[in-house]
């Protein structure tokens, strides 16, 4: 095969979902033996594009060439036949089956199913590229990184020579990420091509040969990684130079509001999700929570909100007059009945914060439907609130009787935050408040949070973007493995310091 024929060529690919154009006229080449990073913000259409290569979606327009020939990829089976394998962000594994069973799933070599033979072949692959899995182990007993390994072996087992990885590092620890990158380099030297979808610049720079950038469903440009720098990439990705310039007023008269002491939360099978967490949250300040996803952020917020059983420790709510009340062991209703106005913007907006199939008015009611003695719920007030939120936060919706599932991510978040703030809370807990939002919506949310801060609300802000945390928060609490690895001043700390704390308990040593 001539080296200059791309393994894969996309020409003028367009994909629409209803009125939304997810991919607009995208053309892209993938060369043999290269690691191509596909860079773009959330919602820029990276995953959609890759889903069309792997046969999950079918493009509305455009053509695909594999090794110079025009091909038609109507199903994942077609993709396999072309040597294309995708590793999804949400693993596509069957929980109750073993690793080996998952790996041979859907294959048919015309012979009898022989899992022992497959297991030997799996071991060979592991040896060749440098990872390790137990073929007999059931998926539900595996850690996230083990599952990802199974996914990668699965596509290699099928003889894929083009691997697509969708945000593979989002769920990994730094060590696991390093190991993964080594595996990818081994594949590259074996002549395989790799596409890695990501929005982390530092990863792009460390692993890829070439980077292609998407923005809002459009192809922007591609460049050799060697000649690219972070600023250039960011500019291309977001379309303009990012200077966040988030307002950060100095807290006025901060008072203790929530005091957490030695909080320990156990997950399923007694795994400690939080271990001896202590901190205080003060009125009129924003306390940021940083950490790699899955290091106890969710459990921390849910424990305070009364949704997570606490194993040991205490969570005290401090009134203005200094009297304290214990929140541990109380459910959200009890906490509310105690007169504690605690707003919570959870990570899972449509699954927890809102009811996806109800309209705006009914969603506004979630917090207020109990008010009054009548057996009937008051819909007048929630209706007014819905109109108010739509009006003030510029929610883009046909009407307040549209079901929220039909709104876009940013609008959904505005509805949720709008409702929570309308409770006039004294404590506001937010998890990934701007995830998946465009820049403008993000700023609207920052602004809302800041306004609450100025009104004296104690805010716990769990975020993933360090730049935002550093500009928005007064103090930053860093979680690592369910423990507090440090609490730093947002005004004086550096990205390096927080990043190190995220990956090291105790911090101190700069890892890289």
């Amino acid at each position: 095969m001539a080296a200059d024929i791309p393994v894969l060529r996309l020409e003028h690919i367009t994909k629409r979902f209803g009125d939304v154009v997810a991919n607009d006229d995208i053309s892209l080449d993938v060369r043999q033996g290269e690691i191509l990073a596909l860079l773009g913000e959330n919602g820029s259409g990276k995953t959609t594009l890759m889903n069309m290569i792997s046969g999950i979606y079918y493009p509305d327009e455009g053509t695909i060439f594999a090794k110079g020939k025009q091909v038609e990829i109507a199903s994942p089976r077609d993709a396999f036949a072309l040597g294309i394998g995708m590793i999804y962000q949400h693993f596509k594994l069957v929980d109750v089956l073993t690793a080996a069973e998952n790996i041979v799933l859907g294959l048919d070599d015309g012979r009898k199913l022989d899992l022992k033979k497959s297991a030997r072949h799996i071991k060979e692959i592991c040896l060749k590229y440098g990872f390790d899995i137990d073929p007999e182990k059931k998926i539900y007993d595996m850690s996230v990184s083990e599952k990802q390994t199974v996914e990668i072996v699965k596509v290699l087992y099928r003889g894929a020579d083009l691997l697509i990885l969708d945000e593979p590092t989002a769920v990994l620890t730094p060590q696991e990420t390093d190991r993964l990158f080594n595996v990818l380099r081994n594949m590259k030297s074996d002549g395989k091509s790799v596409i890695i979808i990501t929005h982390k610049l530092q990863e792009v720079l460390s692993i890829s040969d070439r980077v292609a950038i998407l923005r809002k469903g459009r192809y922007i440009c591609d460049m050799d990684t060697k000649s690219a720098n972070a600023q250039e990439l960011t500019d291309a990705m977001v379309g303009r130079s990012v200077k966040l310039n988030i307002e950060r007023p100095v807290p006025v008269n901060p008072k203790r509001r929530i005091v957490v002491k030695d909080l320990t939360v156990q997950g399923e099978e007694g795994v400690e999700k939080l271990k001896g967490v202590s901190f205080e949250l003060r009125s009129g300040e924003i306390l940021g929570v940083a950490g790699i996803a899955g290091n106890g952020q969710r459990e921390l917020l849910e424990a305070i909100a009364g949704l997570q059983p606490v194993h040991s420790g205490e969570i005290k709510y401090v009134e203005d007059d200094g009297s304290e009340e214990e929140l541990v062991g109380k459910d959200p209703l009890k906490i509310m009945e105690m007169g504690v106005s605690l707003a919570f913007v959870p990570e899972d907006r449509l699954g927890m914060g809102l009811v996806a199939n109800m309209d705006l008015t009914d969603n506004m009611m979630l917090r207020s439907f109990r008010s009054g003695k009548s057996v009937f719920a008051d819909r007048k007030q929630p209706h007014n609130l819905a109109e108010d939120v739509v009006d003030k936060l510029e929610v883009n919706t046909p009407s307040v009787s549209t079901i929220v599932r039909k709104l876009s991510g940013g609008n959904v978040q505005k509805v949720l935050v709008g409702r929570e703030i309308a409770m006039a809370p004294t404590v506001l807990l937010t998890a990934y408040a701007v995830r998946g939002l465009d820049i403008n919506s993000s700023y609207t949310i920052y602004d809302l949070i800041n306004r609450q801060k100025k009104a004296g609300v104690a805010i716990l802000y769990v975020g993933e973007d360090l730049d935002v945390l550093l500009e928005l928060c007064d103090r930053i609490l860093v979680l690592c493995g369910g423990q507090v690895s440090g609490i730093v001043d947002g005004r004086t700390t550096s990205k390096q310091e927080v990043g190190t704390l995220m990956t090291n308990l105790g911090g101190g040593i700069y890892a890289k």
Binding site: E72, A74, F344, V355, M358, A377
Partner: protein, 364 residues
């Protein structure tokens, strides 16, 4: 690679206009009736138009038939409405039959045991309480296990139907009249104690009024009450319910008790209002039919009046053609089945659109 030339592409519809939706529905119904006509012709050689005419006659032909139609609708409607709160909570209550049967048992027990001891209107009140309690208990049992352990409610409620049937069979033998006949016969034939009073000389009017009352009641409950809102939240998303402090277990049991109570009332209507006896088949599968009535109407109580009418009409019509054409009574079930298949299939066209795309170029 395969090149299929033409691709059918199915995608979710965002919105469909009210008019278009009903247009599609009506067209599908018409198609279904047409097909049923053809089946009739093929199976029996009869002229389908005559058969349909007979069905209409069977339901509307005389005022007695018309009242029967309304009365049957009342019973089916009330049991279907009983299922609505449970279904809105995504609780598959297939136990409507059993719950109604227990209600009937409670009512019949009162009529038999204390029929001659208290005045009739007091008796009717006691019957009402007894049947509501019986239905409630029968529904609360699977609900409790669902709430506590997540026990599969579909099969649990289903099995409770058969337990109820055997329980009634037991009491039928205990109370059989005359001894050895294996059935109860008309209860309180002479005194009419516990029989619903006739309103304006009409035997069934009270049943119909009660059913209408339940319709309005369920509509208001589901749409305006706090409890109705709560159970809808629980049905849509358990974690949202927990997030706002709704006690899910509590709501499951409460809602099922309501569902069971309404089923119990249906049993009361059957024993006190129409049949004045107790048999194991008194509910005759209306609990299942009710599932379909409620589902087809998308749980809207007023639309359910229409779907009830449709199913009762077919049932009544088929008993008429039984006598006229010597066809079998079960013919109605076949037509009902076919109609249901069409309506079930029809939803697809309301929720999805199919588009065709041609890829003209040949694969190299």
């Amino acid at each position: 690679m395969r090149n299929r030339g033409v691709h059918f592409h199915i995608s979710r519809r965002n919105d469909i206009s009210w008019r278009k939706a009903w247009g599609i529905r009506c067209a599908v119904m018409a198609l279904a009736f047409l097909l049923c006509g053809l089946i009739t012709m093929a199976a029996t050689g009869l002229n389908p138009i005559k058969v349909y005419a007979a069905m209409i006659d069977g339901n509307f032909g005389t005022s007695r038939r018309f009242w029967m139609l309304l009365q049957n609708m009342a019973v089916l409607l009330s049991i279907s409405l009983a299922l609505v709160p449970a279904f809105r909570m995504r609780f598959w209550n297939l136990g409507g039959d059993g719950q109604a049967l227990m209600g009937a048992l409670g009512a019949a027990a009162c009529m038999i045991l204390i029929g001659d001891k208290v005045p009739s209107f007091v008796l009717i009140l006691i019957m009402a309480v007894a049947s509501i309690v019986c239905g409630m208990v029968w529904a609360a049992i699977p609900a409790w296990f669902k709430a506590k352990f997540g026990t599969n409610e579909t099969l649990f409620t289903l099995m409770m139907n058969y337990v109820a049937i055997q329980l009634v069979a037991f009491f039928v033998i205990v109370w059989e009249m005359p001894k050895g006949s294996g059935k109860i016969g008309i209860i309180n034939q002479s005194t009419q104690a516990g029989w619903f009073p006739q309103i304006g000389g009409n035997k069934y009017l009270l049943n119909i009024l009660i059913a209408l009352l339940i319709t309005v009641g369920v509509y208001i409950y589901m749409r305006y009450s706090k409890q109705g809102y709560e159970l809808a939240v629980v049905g849509e998303s358990g974690s949202t319910a927990r997030y706002v402090g709704i006690k899910i277990q509590h709501v499951i049991i409460r809602t099922m008790m309501l569902s069971g109570a309404l089923c119990g009332i249906t049993g009361l209507l059957l024993v006190g209002g129409t049949d004045h006896t107790l048999t194991t088949t008194i509910v005759s599968g209306r609990g299942f039919t009710g599932v379909m009535v409620a589902w087809l109407a998308k749980f809207n109580p007023f639309v359910m009046i229409l779907t009830t009418f449709l199913l009762v009409f077919l049932k009544g019509g088929s008993s008429e053609i039984t006598t006229i054409f010597g066809l079998n009574q079960s013919f109605g079930d076949i037509i009902t089945g076919v109609l249901l298949f069409f309506i079930l299939g029809c939803d697809f066209f309301l929720n999805y659109t199919i588009s065709m795309s041609k890829s003209g170029k040949e694969a190299a």
